[in-house]
């Protein structure tokens, strides 16, 4: 056997091994995709089931129909959906502004209180936020912003304390070179002009990331929303309202309606997310780790 043949044989061996391991990976990836998607497929299928409203041992409905969506329309769900949508929209605007102000400042300015301030907020963040729920509830209730008026209350609390979550976007601002600022400053631009003429256009991914996360957050907000709106359906958001459908005395009547509600909530958010996926990935990989 010549040397040449030998190497080419070994080459083929490596190739075959590679093909085998790739094959195994494809199998695993398909398995993973199935596991990750299956519950969502199940939710969609069950939302069209007409013959029974409780949990059953099969997935594909025997009888298809839109009864569950009609039930949804006739319940308080519309109100909850609107509440959540308003909160999400308001927080997308307000939270974004607050967080960008905070992170831009801490990334760009060097002032005397900067270090102490950041350390202070780090320590503050170690307290469980839930602890403050009790007092925030009492304060909101004194202001008349609980129960049926929970929506403005939730917006207020959500945006007022959002400055603490500056880490991701600060990590991103840190990656924009400071020599750009300095060049502009030399040319006579004020700090304000530097911000909106130079930094903001460059920071588009993180701005979109912040808006996206701020918008999506309220859709899953459960605990504080429940605490503030407790017992008054008109003040619920989707999470609190739909949770009440799965309690022991409701679940047999409302299970499939819950599935339909889940579809209605998830579809718009997911479409929005997929459209802006690029920015989300950039934000997560760029800012979240460096923090």
């Amino acid at each position: 056997m010549s040397k040449n043949e030998n190497t080419s044989k070994r080459h083929m061996g490596i190739k075959a091994a590679n093909r085998l391991s790739n094959g195994a990976i494809y199998v695993l990836l398909i398995l993973i995709s199935v596991i990750w998607l299956i519950p969502f497929v199940f939710i969609v299928l069950q939302s069209f089931r007409v013959e029974s409203t409780y949990q059953v041992g099969y997935v594909v409905p025997h009888q298809w129909g839109l009864q569950n969506y009609i039930n949804l329309w006739n319940s308080d769900f519309k109100r909850w959906y609107l509440n959540t949508f308003i909160i999400a929209l308001a927080s997308a605007v307000l939270v974004t502004i607050i967080q960008l102000c905070m992170s831009y400042t801490l990334s760009r300015f060097r002032f005397k209180m900067r270090g102490p301030l950041m350390r202070f907020m780090l320590i503050l963040g170690m307290f469980p936020g839930m602890l403050t729920m009790i007092i925030l509830y009492r304060v909101l209730s004194d202001l008349g912003l609980t129960q049926a008026n929970a929506v403005p209350g939730l917006i207020l609390v959500g945006f007022a304390s959002s400055g603490m979550g500056y880490y991701v976007s600060k990590g991103f601002f840190d990656t924009i070179s400071r020599s750009l600022d300095e060049a502009a400053r030399v040319d006579g631009a004020t700090r304000l002009q530097v911000l909106y003429k130079i930094i903001l256009p460059l920071a588009k991914p993180i701005v979109i990331y912040t808006i996206l996360t701020a918008f999506m957050g309220p859709w899953g907000d459960y605990v504080f929303a429940r605490y503030v709106a407790f017992g008054t359906s008109a003040g619920y958001n989707v999470a609190v309202g739909m949770y009440s459908w799965l309690t022991n005395d409701q679940i047999n009547r409302m299970y499939t309606t819950f599935c339909a509600g889940g579809v209605i909530v998830a579809v718009p958010v997911t479409i929005l997310f997929l459209c802006l996926q690029k920015y989300y990935v950039e934000g997560v990989t760029g800012g979240a780790v460096k923090g």
């Binding site: 995709s33 949990q55 059953v56 607050i98 400055g163 603490m164 998830a266 990989t285 780790v289």
Partner: protein
């Protein structure tokens, strides 16, 4: 403990270095404590000197200043006003007016009530005219505590502002003596979008944090030293009052609580599970997420974008939907048990106790958390994996390293170095991961031994869900919730401190820029 020199330290293997650092950290604790007290002593001395210097400065300003300065000591901003700095002067004056007005009309009352938290609760008085009993409300402990704290904040702010006002006078004196020009209101306004633009930007966020985070946290820390609960709500039934360290004694007492095990045993159990959960939840997600990312990243795998999109899709769907749905799927009469049971495939005769058996429940919770967490970790690690220089792998291959060796020697160290801080935040985040536990199990199955403790404690309860249960439970022992919250803080702070001292990748933040 043996001290290694730098050279000896470098000769150790990675694992030994880690152990050495770990042990060194704990060996240094007595010394650190001693230093801590020495530093406190030094700090106090420094503080005293500083205060003395401030007073000397204030005195000198008063003695050296002209009559305008002297008036400014009483009427804030007078010096600024008479020297043409209208904006600053008006702000000072306005602040003083508001402060005096507030202190006279309400602040004084709150402050005087703070030591007792109210003297008279609601009374049920006989009303002779209507021949009936009516309830009259008097003091309100809750408001006294809240506004008392607020008033103290306000007083501190006032002292600070007053000091600033005196400083301003000194500066004005210095400048006018030299014949310089003072900054006018126009300059002040311009500086707010230029040199001190940060003040403008931070004003709103910091006010929000102060009012909606700092104030509540201070308030809740103070609640830990009171007997504030459902039966003492400070207003409509009984007033609450200071009880010192009683609540901490309750939590750490070894006496049986209401027939069950003691509070400290319950607390210990929950804390142990919280730590186990945080550890497993963080690292299962981390390694499996990395594994999935590496599979998708591997050369020769097609449709990379599709695989990623499928996983990312699950990030988009609000967690409460997926968690609640999965929770019901695993329930006793849920999809899985029905499908496997007699009416379905007939593989099992008894429903599997996913949420009823403590061990099953804990394992299921961790598995579902993997399902929730992997896509996110996959996203994070993908970016970092792509940043590892490819020539490292090339040279490793030439040296004959197999895939596992490459992973152990190149990928893992690199990843751990970059994601060290992220792992720490994710660990503490998982300790407080309310949503996953509460929406999946609600803390179930109930722990019968802990029946005497506040809230119905379950085997999958974390400290944070326990805190929530105490708060919303029948007796609403807010004081106990507050103590638990403080303990969570202590645990998180200690872990962060230890890890920050052991981790290699705490870099100087300026290095990035």
């Amino acid at each position: 403990m043996k001290q290694y020199s730098d050279l000896e330290f470098l000769r150790l293997s990675k694992w030994q270095r880690f152990c050495y650092k770990f042990l060194a950290f704990f060996a240094a604790i007595p010394r650190a404590i001693a230093n801590f007290f020495i530093n406190i002593g030094k700090g106090i001395k420094k503080c005293c000197l500083r205060v003395a210097a401030e007073f000397r400065d204030i005195g000198q300003t008063f003695v050296n200043g002209d009559w305008k300065t002297k008036v400014s000591f009483l009427v804030m901003g007078f010096g600024n006003l008479t020297h043409g700095q209208i904006l600053r002067g008006v702000m000072f004056l306005l602040f003083e007016a508001v402060f005096i007005f507030y202190m006279i009309f309400t602040g004084g009352y709150w402050l005087s009530m703070l030591p007792s938290l109210g003297k008279q609760g609601p009374t049920n008085d006989y009303d002779a005219i209507y021949d009936s009993y009516t309830t009259h409300y008097h003091d309100n402990s809750f408001k006294i505590l809240l506004y008392g704290v607020l008033t103290i904040f306000f007083i501190v702010a006032f002292i600070y502002t007053w000091r600033m006002n005196v400083k301003q006078c000194k500066i004005i004196d210095q400048i006018t003596k030299k014949g310089g020009k003072l900054k006018g209101s126009r300059d002040d306004l311009r500086s707010l979008v230029d040199e001190s633009f940060y003040k403008t930007l931070l004003a709103l966020p910091l006010t929000g944090i102060l009012v909606f985070t700092v104030l509540p946290i201070v308030f809740m820390i103070l609640v830990a030293f009171t007997n504030y609960d459902g039966a003492h709500n400070g207003f409509s039934n009984n007033l609450f009052t200071w009880v010192g360290l009683d609540n901490f004694n309750t939590l750490f007492s070894w006496q049986s609580a209401g027939g069950g095990q003691s509070y400290s045993a319950t607390f210990g159990e929950i804390l142990t599970w919280t730590l186990i959960w945080a550890f497993l939840a963080t690292f299962t997600n981390y390694f499996l997420g990395m594994f999935v990312a590496m599979m998708i990243n591997k050369k020769g795998i097609r449709l990379k974008k599709m695989w990623r999109t499928i996983l990312v899709l699950t990030v988009a769907i609000p967690q409460f939907i997926s968690l609640l749905y999965v929770s019901k799927m695993f329930a006793r009469n849920g999809l899985i048990n029905l499908a496997l049971g007699p009416q379905g495939l007939g593989w099992i005769s008894q429903p599997l106790p996913f949420w009823e058996d403590p061990t099953w429940a804990r394992v299921t919770v961790i598995l579902v958390n993997v399902w929730i967490g992997i896509p996110y970790l996959m996203l994070i690690t993908t970016g970092i994996l792509m940043n590892i220089p490819a020539d490292l792998y090339e040279s490793a291959k030439i040296d004959g390293a197999n895939a596992w060796q490459q992973y152990r020697k190149i990928t893992l160290p690199y990843m751990l170095f970059i994601t060290g801080p992220y792992l720490l935040t994710s660990f503490t985040g998982n300790m407080n991961n309310f949503n996953v536990i509460y929406l999946l199990t609600g803390g179930a199955p109930t722990n019968p031994a802990a029946s005497g403790a506040a809230g119905s404690v379950g085997y999958t309860d974390l400290l944070i869900t326990w805190l929530f249960k105490i708060t919303t439970g029948a007796e609403s022992q807010y004081y106990l919730a507050s103590v638990v919250g403080i303990m969570v803080f202590v645990v998180v702070a200690v872990i962060s401190l230890v890890v920050y001292n052991v981790l290699p990748s705490i870099k100087n933040e300026e290095d990035y820029q």
